[in-house]
Amino acid sequence: MVAEARRALWLYRRLLGAQVRATLQYEADFWIMSLSAVLVQAVGVVFLWAIFRSIPEINGWQFWEVVLIYALVVVAEGLSVLVAQGAWTLAVTVNFGQLDAMLLRPYPPVLQVLSSAVGMNGLGNLVLGTGLLIAAVRHVDVSWNVGRVALGLLLVVAAAGVKIGLNLLTNCAAFWLRSPYSMFAFSMHSFGELARFPVTIYGLGVRITLTVVLPYAFMSFFPAAAVLAHGPARWLGLLTPVVAIYCLWIGTTVFRYGLSRYESSGH
């Protein structure tokens, strides 16, 4: 069991590595993607800064605390596109019948899909996110000790797991919608961006959706609240690893269900 999991993980790294090599064939792409990732996220920070110039706090959250939430999203997003960008290729893979080849190889199809692309923009995200994280950590009023740092690291990884699970889940729409575009998953992703702010500012419907239905808030607001020990949300934030496992499980389950509907192409 353990040996098998280890082998699966090793193969996953092999497949990702192959994608990195394939991607690096296009050097210009790499630099443009990384740079644009930094730009996109930096624009968001400028936006935050502009808001906080006119209002000193949002629902009891100070500027640097919100930057910390933001940084967490950027890092988790960066991790997810680096190690599991393949979820976003599902629309094309499924609708052009390219899943065939994956179903003929002795390695779980879901892992082949997830490892089938590497988002090099993830590196840009990681650089900017880490910078923001360091800046935020220096300004927020929290006493740091080993336990808190460890918790922070665990929650960042779990937050990435949440995002990967949700990416997989929403992109599985490709099995039902026969279009080679990931519009559905992308609109869900955009909706998830709402969780870059303290979700307490939203109405009940949005809050429930972001917490329970598509728990995007667990890749940003809740884990940040847990690290900052800020407000009642901090207890929920401790559940992030559990939510990550749940999201990954449901993504995989829906994927498996989708596979039974897969029609290949050209019959």
Binding site: R7, L11, R14, L15, A18, R21, A22, T23, Q25, G97, Q98, L99, D100, A101, L103, L104, R105, P106, Y107, P108, P109, L259, S260, R261, Y262, E263, S264, G266, H267
Partner: protein, 353 residues
């Protein structure tokens, strides 16, 4: 002493296999598409309609039929890509779509229309990734690769990125990728489509060797020449059903009797009657130009040599060729023969392409 006869082991067992696809019913044009958004109507398309099939270990089966007959859909169900709508599939004791990973270790599949290599990687990287997925040891990998290289000539392909390969090169690389783990069962879906004669020959002799080594092969093709020296058994399907399952030679004897020879003559012929008189039972037609001539005959009653002699006696030949019937013609004849019990009832007028 008792003689023990080794009973052939059934590797592929298919019963009542069915696959139905749902197709959106749309009127043409943008208006039709928009209307479909509001009024979603679907029609069912039965691609495979109750197929029974049993293939023994070491057998080489040609699986043929016209376009859209359900060949690829069957292969996709056998290889675990598609989940059947109904019926049973058992391949080497496994239900392919339930035990995909285990099934993938035992079978090799080649689709002529689509590559299974990693598009952006050199062929060597693709093969090494497959080696690791199959968990092949370094020694075994080297050995198999050397053997494949021997027949397929891979050496010059290994450093090339898959998307830069020509069709023939890609096919050779794809064959290597599908057979690297030395599968017991190999499905080949139109492996020679679009290839030039030299590569076709190479692929054919490669498959022949596979069969000789005891691999169970199921070959889907449009090209009668592909199967002639590879398979002894032929399964013909049409509209999702098996219309014939049996010996290849007897199909050819009963349904591929008609052959035609076309001639280009040095000078125009005033008429074809004199040649026709020399060849009773054959059809002799002038082409669009009176220097062209086509003789269609039953190869069981007349030989190519006699036809050639008859034409030579009346005219000077510049060029000639013999047309082999395409698999579609055979299928149509078999099918027509099944529907109409009287021998050669309505098939005489069939043109042989």
């Amino acid at each position: 002493m008792e003689m023990v006869h080794a009973r052939p082991v059934t590797l592929i067992q298919v019963a009542g296999l069915r696959k139905v696809f749902r197709k959106p019913e749309k009127a043409p044009g943008l208006r039709g598409s928009l209307r479909h958004l509001l009024q979603r109507r679907f029609s069912e398309h039965v691609a495979v309609d109750g197929i029974d099939l049993s293939v023994a270990q070491g057998e080489a089966v040609a699986y043929v039929g016209p376009n859209g007959a359900g060949k690829s859909t069957t292969v996709k169900m056998l290889s675990g890509i598609l989940v059947p709508t109904a019926g049973q599939v058992l391949v080497d004791g496994l239900v392919p779509y339930r035990a995909r990973v285990e099934n993938a270790r035992r079978v090799g599949v080649v689709f002529g229309q689509r590559t299974q290599l990693w598009w952006d990687l050199p062929v060597r990287d693709s093969l090494e990734l497959l080696r690791d997925m199959h968990g092949l040891g370094a020694a075994r990998y080297r050995e198999t690769l050397a053997r494949l290289d021997d027949v397929l000539g891979l050496a010059d392909l290994l450093p090339v990125v898959a998307r830069k390969l020509s069709l023939g090169q890609r096919m050779r690389a794809d064959l290597a990728a599908a057979l690297l783990h030395e599968p017991r069962i190999v499905y080949l879906d139109e492996p020679t489509i679009g290839l030039d004669i030299a590569v076709k020959d190479r692929v054919r002799s490669f498959v022949r060797r596979l069969v000789a080594d005891g691999t169970t092969v199921m070959l889907t093709t449009h090209d009668l020449a592909d199967i002639e020296d590879i398979c002894r058994r032929i399964v013909i399907i049409d509209a999702g059903r098996v219309v014939y399952d049996g010996d290849l030679q007897s199909v050819k004897d009963t349904h591929v009797r008609e052959r035609s020879m076309s001639f280009e003559l040095a000078a125009g012929l005033p008429g074809v009657d004199r040649i026709a008189a020399r060849l009773p039972g054959a059809q002799v037609r002038a082409g669009s130009d009176d220097r062209e001539l086509t003789v269609t005959f039953d190869r069981m009653t007349l030989g190519a040599r006699e036809v050639l002699a008859a034409v030579l006696a009346e005219a000077e030949i510049v060029d000639m060729h013999i047309d082999e019937p395409a698999i579609e013609t055979v299928v149509r004849k078999v099918y027509a023969g099944q529907l109409r019990p009287e021998p050669d009832g309505g098939v005489d007028r069939e043109t042989v392409s």
